[in-house]
Symmetry: C2
Subunit: 170 residues, 2 copies
């Protein structure tokens, strides 16, 4: 149970990237990179006494303006109670507007206010700047590979959500 295992199959040296050690390095890289990925927005948010949860809500409301609460819920993968706490403070602070649905009045459609859009831009700019630097440093082929591996790492359900947003964007 605790002796060295190697579940990678070595059918030639071309599979070096599938050794347990390589996979472990990939896992650690993912861990450290994610920290970097969130570091800049986290700094901005903590000054405003918001957290990552607020960022996520703002991001996806910006991305899909007019989205319903339920829709946002399924994208974020949290409970409505959890989202509601965050959403309430954003609405109180005048960053998000919640409009009763025209056709189905049970629904609330979420939009960023100007103030909300301004914060979104600030967070987004910071995060994109880091992303852009990483992309530039690694080059186009690396970026294509990066995206491929990320896609393959998602759960199918999340991949669908991602694709839907991607196609909506352009």
């Amino acid at each position: 149970m605790s002796e060295l295992r190697s579940s990678a199959s070595y059918s030639g040296e071309s599979l070096l990237y599938l050794t347990d050690e390589q996979l472990r390095q990939g896992i650690e890289a993912m861990f450290f990179a994610y920290r970097g990925f969130t570091a800049d927005p986290d700094r901005i948010l903590s000054d405003l006494s918001y957290g990552r949860a607020h960022h996520r809500a703002i991001h996806f409301i910006n991305r899909a303006p007019g989205t319903t609460v339920n829709n946002l819920l399924s994208i974020l993968g949290v409970t409505k109670q959890s989202l509601n706490r965050v959403l309430r403070t954003l609405i109180e602070d005048g960053l998000v507007e919640s409009r009763v649905g025209q056709v189905d009045k049970r629904e609330r459609h979420l939009h960023l206010t100007e103030k909300g859009a301004a914060l979104e831009a600030r967070l987004s700019d910071a995060q994109r700047a880091r992303m852009r630097a990483a992309y530039r440093a690694a080059g186009p082929e690396a970026v294509a590979g990066f995206r491929q591996v990320l896609e393959a790492m998602m759960d199918t359900e999340l991949r669908r959500a991602h694709v839907r947003l991607r196609d909506a964007g352009q």
Copy 2:
């Protein structure tokens, strides 16, 4: 402030991957992929009433046996009080052993017990399985690119920690 911006410079069509839209897709891919990345260990852990913090501690203790609390702290990027709570439960549950330093008695050196190593293997296997599937689906060149972008996304300080672990591993 809220009109469309494009901070990417278009010096040829080969830089398409640096448009704001492309960067945004990368950001979202990172977000969704990280969810997948942690999903399998999370499931295992919740059955044992442990959390992601326990996983991280176990992972890095396994990776660098005999590491000190302070060392682990700098890798995990949390406060010592936060780590200590997690560490305490792991020690109580007999997964981790804390040995007083021989040369400097202020230090505690951390090791996994057999039980701890068994859990580590279980978590690690699950996470590697997903990683392996993603790597296999994307192929070797994509994996190389993936790693390059992740490296470039880390803070320099974290990159150093990552490299140190990588080189220690092999």
